[in-house]
């Protein structure tokens, strides 16, 4: 086989390649280099010193933030996937073609307004004297603290990810061969069991990738943990801003950022490998 790329394919793939080199690979390499620089008198200077790596990795504050961020992002991926699935299933399997198109349109609408605006308006709902607590108080419940804690952060993550996760799940469920569902019913597999035994395994790749998106978006998000989670204790993205603000420590922020990138790459790789794993030899 001829493996040399043709001029045609090069014409279309070169811009992407150049873009990736200029705006991803080069900055990444620069970030790696930066993490070995040193700061003297609030001035960065090129160097090759592992001091930043040692300093960051030896602090328990960093590791606390790391595992908190990992836990929050994982919880976000799992909870949002679980919340999304019944809706996605209903849209894909129970609605007519017309209603399905409307629902997809409705799910795109949240992306029309800025995420930041949506998060600010959530404060009105979640604060101690907010709309939700007022309503619950009317029922004789609460008040509950829903802001400046993990609940607030996760609610923010859901605002960010839920519509996207439902859309991705709907598209993958739409590709499930309906014959498989009927065949399962025909072999005595009831409705709920068919969802678990046939529909979820059939759509596995898409469902895992939808969850992966929720993880990636939540893991790197700065807005929700700060404005709804209160920012203290910090997540990794909040920690990066804190570090840069205090004494121009860009090299140490680079260490945190590189750790985040490595984590995302590992998780994404593992998730995709799991998503496309086939049965049998």
């Amino acid at each position: 086989m001829n493996t040399r790329p043709s001029l045609f394919s090069l014409t279309f793939s070169l811009p992407l390649l150049i873009w990736q080199l200029a705006f991803f690979l080069f900055p990444l390499a620069f970030l790696v280099a930066l993490s070995f620089w040193t700061v003297r008198n609030f001035q960065m200077q090129p160097d090759f010193d592992t001091v930043n790596w040692v300093k960051i990795y030896s602090r328990s504050v960093f590791w606390d933030a790391y595992f908190r961020t990992l836990l929050l992002a994982s919880a976000s991926a799992v909870l949002i996937s679980l919340t999304a699935f019944p809706a996605s299933y209903a849209i894909s399997f129970k609605l007519g073609e017309n209603a399905k198109r409307w629902m997809i349109f409705v799910l795109i609408i949240p992306f029309f307004t800025s995420y930041l605006v949506r998060v600010y308006s959530l404060q009105v709902f979640l604060s101690d004297a907010g709309i939700l607590n007022a309503f619950l108080g009317y029922l004789g419940l609460g008040p509950y603290s829903m802001l400046n804690n993990s609940f607030g952060t996760l609610t923010g993550y859901a605002t960010l990810c839920l519509p996207l996760v439902i859309l991705l799940q709907v598209f993958s469920l739409n590709f499930v061969n309906r014959d498989l569902v009927e065949a399962a019913h025909n072999m005595r597999c009831g409705r709920l069991r068919t969802v678990l035994e046939v529909i979820i395994p059939s759509a596995k790749a898409g469902l895992v990738i939808a969850g992966l998106f929720a993880f990636i978006l939540s893991f790197g998000d700065f807005v929700s943990p700060l404005y709804l989670g209160g920012g203290n204790p910090p997540t990794l993205s909040i920690m990066i801003t804190d570090i840069t603000k205090s004494g121009q420590q860009w090299p140490r922020a680079a260490v945190v950022a590189l750790t985040m990138i490595a984590t995302l790459l590992t998780v994404a790789f593992a998730a995709i490998k799991f998503a496309y794993r086939e049965a049998g030899k």
């Binding site: 014959d179 065949a183 399962a184 072999m187 597999c189 395994p201 049965a279 049998g280 030899k281």
Partner: protein
Amino acid sequence: MLDTPIVHFDNVVKKFGSFTAVEKADFQIARGEFLAIMGSSGCGKTTTLRMLAGLEDPTEGNILLDGKKINGKPTWERDTPMVWQSLALFPFLTVQENVEFSLKMRKVPKGERRERARKWLDRLGILEFADRNISQLSGGQRQRVALARSLVTEPKILLLDEPLSALDAHLKVRMQSVLSGLQKDLGITFVYVTHSMSEAFSMADRVVIMSRGKIEQIGTPEEIYREPRNRFVAGFLGSSNVFDGRLKSSGNEVWQIETEHSSFNLKAPSEVQKTDGSPVAFAVSSENMSLATIGTPWAGNSIEATVVGGEFAGASATVFLETDQGQELKVQKGHDELKTVDIRAGQKLLVHWLPEHCHVLPGE
């Protein structure tokens, strides 16, 4: 119990909105019978099968399985396993797990499940692929997995929806013999939906021919081939020429039919009663028609027609002709027999056949 038919369609109607997919289906399927339901796409054959499987509900009428009414029973409460046209094998399970699936749903213990699945894989000659993924199998092997998966519960009836349509010609013939062999060995009822006459006629004990939701004829392949009931069946079999006319005189031996061409003689049918002057349609199989040069003396029925074209591939040749009245005729003959006549397009020839080769269509 044994003398009751395994399946009884009692005046079953299926409508989708205002569209009638199946119109008053009324027939029975005997125990151990291989029944083929045949027709072109959209004729209602698959809907009929799906109603039996419990995947569609009849709008009117009853379906009885083993003498018991099964309308409204969901498919998972019936024992009517089906083989899909797409096979519907689970790509996320191995071959073995696919075959075990319905046993697992029936809560058969793991060890027994495994053993029974392996027995069927072995019987169908695919045991060596037990741990493979479905995507690694060939079309014929997948076919066998689908059969094993449906037969593993040892049902009394198996429904098949065009299972061979995706296979190439050689494999198709091989799977046909696998299927009819299995059906004979197991002695269970097969209901086989197909659009292919060769599949239906080579395997089935009886064939149901459907068109636009209606059953046109039910009978053994031989009955249908020799005695098509109406114009549709005669046309569907693809080798009959149909003539319309009026009964001029009905003797004991010979009927004389007046048509727009001329009058034809045919052997009086024993099972059809008609009064003189009533309309009659009859079919003549294209193999029973011969060609001769104009002017050749001939004692039987004959008609003049112009050659339109021909197909000369294969063991026999098919010549297409048209009469002066515009009726199309088709004549199928061995190459040797056609040597004596000139069959260029535009040539006028004498088409002739014997009275005993005319078959009166009783349904017209």
